[in-house]
């Protein structure tokens, strides 16, 4: 896939953000990893996908009108079986149609449910004075409450990305507190560097974030991706 052309084409259709599966594909080109997933069009496809990925799975609605999926009732986690899947799928779509009437539904993502990790966030934006900048910080809902984040101008080297990570409070948790093993900090530094490259190479990207990113002792995975384009 020519990702540059692809992003331009999305803009041409009048849409100013990438759908989640599109975002994974583009980000994947830059070495940014996400959990295994499939895009499905109906329950049967979904159950097959879940079986091949392996339960438990998460399902998420994909719609060009919906950026905040959770607010729209468009996410169900921890689905353990085909039967649970069928109920979850139908309930989710019903909720979405109630909350966002008329939303065009492009499909549903079936994604492998990941074990618990340290939730961080990595993002980037184009600042009017500084150009492309990257962010790292505590993820999940903590990002808005604690604002434990630090910024750097892209592009940056590994040393600088590590310094950026070390400026946050969540760094202490990433180093392993009590019995917890330390997380793969180098992988997080890579993710920051890759995010910087993404902004540098695709000028159409205005803002993006991976939140949460799950940090593990041997890797880190972006379990959600939001990419906003310059409209």
């Amino acid at each position: 896939m020519d990702y540059k052309k692809f992003v331009k084409n999305v803009l041409k259709t009048g849409r100013s953000h990438l759908l989640e599966p599109e975002a994974y594909h583009v980000c994947g080109e830059f070495g940014i990893a996400c959990p295994q997933f499939r895009l499905v069009a109906n329950v049967e496809e979904g159950i097959n996908a879940a079986k091949s990925i392996g339960f438990p799975v998460v399902i998420k609605v994909v719609s060009s009108q919906i950026i905040h999926k959770t607010d729209a009732g468009g996410v169900v986690t921890g689905i353990q079986s085909g039967e649970q899947f069928k109920n979850a799928y139908e309930t989710m779509l019903k909720n979405v149609r109630n909350k966002v009437p008329g939303a065009e539904i492009n499909g549903v993502i079936v994604q492998k449910s990941m074990p618990q990790g340290v939730e961080v966030a990595v993002g980037g934006l184009r600042d009017s004075q500084f150009g492309p900048v990257v962010m790292f910080g505590a993820g999940g809902i903590l990002i808005e409450v604690l604002q434990d984040v630090s910024f750097r101008l892209a592009q940056l080297d590994r040393e600088e990305a590590l310094r950026q990570i070390k400026e946050t409070k969540i760094y202490k948790i990433l180093q392993g507190v009590r019995q917890n093993q330390p997380c793969d900090i180098e992988a997080l530094a890579d993710l920051i560097i890759h995010t910087g490259k993404l902004l540098e190479e695709i000028p159409e990207i205005y803002e993006l974030d991976f939140n949460p990113v799950l940090a593990y002792p041997d890797q880190c995975l972006a379990v959600d991706a939001r990419v906003i384009l310059v409209s």
Partner: protein, 483 residues
């Protein structure tokens, strides 16, 4: 006539090293801005020419007065404008004519206001009209709406509120004339620092912060760059320039206008938490710029950096005869998260215990020495020498309320002797805290003249030391990566 097709911007050096200055709007009446600027220019150690310009006068402050710019004989390097905005627009045309005929004027300082700063279309148009003939000829413009420039080495001074100043290694660049002047006047009586160059940028119609910092980076008289900023136009370029300069000269910034949140219209988490200030914060850190959190920290960090070497490590010793302020200092040091307490060697500990009173606390808690009040001026020399010689000490903060029975001269003599017993390469930063403030003004001046910074507050001293450590660590990390 000169052809202005291939314009190269003049260097700021032509402005700071002007040998002749015209002051347009000079006034014979004391108390007027146009009079004070002439007086200040004259008061400097400046052996060039000063030309007051005022069509209604023949002499001002004993200097021959000229009717206009074109009448000034010989070479003219710098023009100061203190007339109204409309008149400025008119006078720059004369300057342009002069340049076309003689090719001299290197730059102008526009003190006058009434341009883009008010945000009106009229003001903006005037600024453009004033700028156009000058930029077409590569003539540099400082301001408008600024205090102007001063250089203690060349003797140029275009300001109305800066008297001649002690020479030194600090250069000040500011978006606020009042802030910059306050910093200088605050430090003046106690001689807390010496000045190299001073520049307030005003509306930055032509000369911008990044260019000034780049210029100061190469100025041999500048050792530390102090920057007050409210906002910058070319953030990325500023940071690129600063990261180069920071490798050899510390840049200390006070940035006002902290805003907690960016626009509510953003759609990503990153956008929502970004806010302008956090990006500035990250960018400054990336470039090794020391960002001071308070005005006191800004002032004293600059003073300290202009006199003392950077610490080679992060282990700091607190030496005192006064328990309370000593404890405040340790609390503040450790709260920075940047420094560690010193690891005194067994030899140091044994020796200090031998020479100090038995009630003295040596390395209790770690890196802390309380000499108690039973200590003489002479003993200070041996204690400070011992502590500074210790491999486990990278910097020293000394706090005292000098007792009335101490002789100022003797205390200074012994502490300086201890400090100067080390060769330049082996010196470590030493900050003195005299909690009696200006009550011990003479003592502080003696230390300042000897190159040892003096402060009033133990917590400010801690932040200053932490800033020095942080900057030093940044520089080391850049060197490690060959950047």
């Amino acid at each position: 006539m000169r052809v202005a097709s291939q314009v190269t911007k003049g260097s700021l050096s032509g402005v700071f090293n002007a040998r002749s200055i015209a002051i347009v709007g000079a006034s014979p009446r004391p108390g007027r801005l146009g009079n004070q600027i002439v007086r200040n220019a004259k008061a400097m150690d400046f052996d060039g020419q000063i030309y007051p310009v005022n069509p209604t006068q023949t002499t001002i402050e004993g200097l021959k007065c000229y009717k206009n710019i074109l009448d000034i004989p010989g070479r003219l390097d710098l023009v100061v404008l203190i007339v109204g905005a409309d008149e400025c627009v008119h006078i720059v045309r004369e300057i342009a004519r002069r340049w076309d005929e003689k090719g001299d004027v290197a730059g102008i300082v526009v003190v006058s206001a009434g341009f883009s700063e008010g945000g009106s279309a009229k003001g903006l148009a005037k600024e453009k009209a004033m700028l156009e003939p000058l930029q077409a000829r590569g003539i540099r413009v400082i301001g408008p709406n600024c205090l102007g420039i001063a250089d203690q080495y060349s003797g140029v001074n275009t300001t109305f509120d800066l008297p001649p100043y002690l020479k030194g290694g600090v250069s000040v660049v500011s978006q606020s004339g009042a802030f910059a002047a306050s910093f200088l006047m605050w430090a003046k009586d106690l001689e807390l620092f010496g000045l190299s160059k001073f520049l307030t940028v005003g509306n930055m119609a032509d000369v911008d912060m990044d260019e000034v910092v780049e210029f100061l980076g190469e100025d041999e008289n500048t050792k530390v760059i102090a920057v007050y900023m409210e906002g910058i136009r070319q953030g990325r370029r500023f940071i690129e320039v600063a990261s180069k300069v920071s490798q050899t000269k510390p840049i200390v910034v006070f940035k006002s206008g902290r805003t907690a949140f960016g626009s509510g219209a953003v759609r990503s988490h990153t956008g929502a938490v970004a806010g302008n200030d956090k990006i500035y914060d990250g960018a400054f850190r990336q470039a090794g710029i020391i960002r001071a959190a308070t005005v006191a920290e800004f002032y004293h960090t600059i003073c300290a950096l202009s006199k003392q070497p950077l610490p080679r490590g992060k282990r700091i010793c607190v030496l005192t005869g006064i328990g309370g302020p000593g404890t405040i200092c340790i609390d503040a040091l450790l709260a920075t998260g940047v420094v560690e307490m010193a690891c005194l060697s067994d030899h140091t500990k044994t020796h200090l215990k031998e020479i100090l009173a038995h009630t003295a606390a040596v390395d209790e808690p770690q890196g802390y020495v309380d000499m108690t009040a039973s200590v003489t001026e002479e003993l200070h020399e041996e204690v400070i020498k011992t502590v500074l010689a210790d491999e486990g000490v990278d910097g020293l903060i000394y706090l005292i309320t000098p007792p009335a029975f101490f002789s100022d001269e003797k205390l200074v003599e012994h502490i300086l002797k201890a400090y100067n017993s080390f060769s330049k390469e082996k010196r470590k930063p030493l900050l003195n805290v005299f909690t009696f403030g200006s009550h011990v003004a003479e003592l502080r001046r003696l230390f300042e003249r000897g190159g040892i910074p003096t402060l009033e507050f133990p917590d400010v001293a801690a932040s200053v030391m932490a800033n020095m450590v942080w900057h030093s660590e940044w520089r080391k990390s850049r060197l490690d990566y060959g950047l």
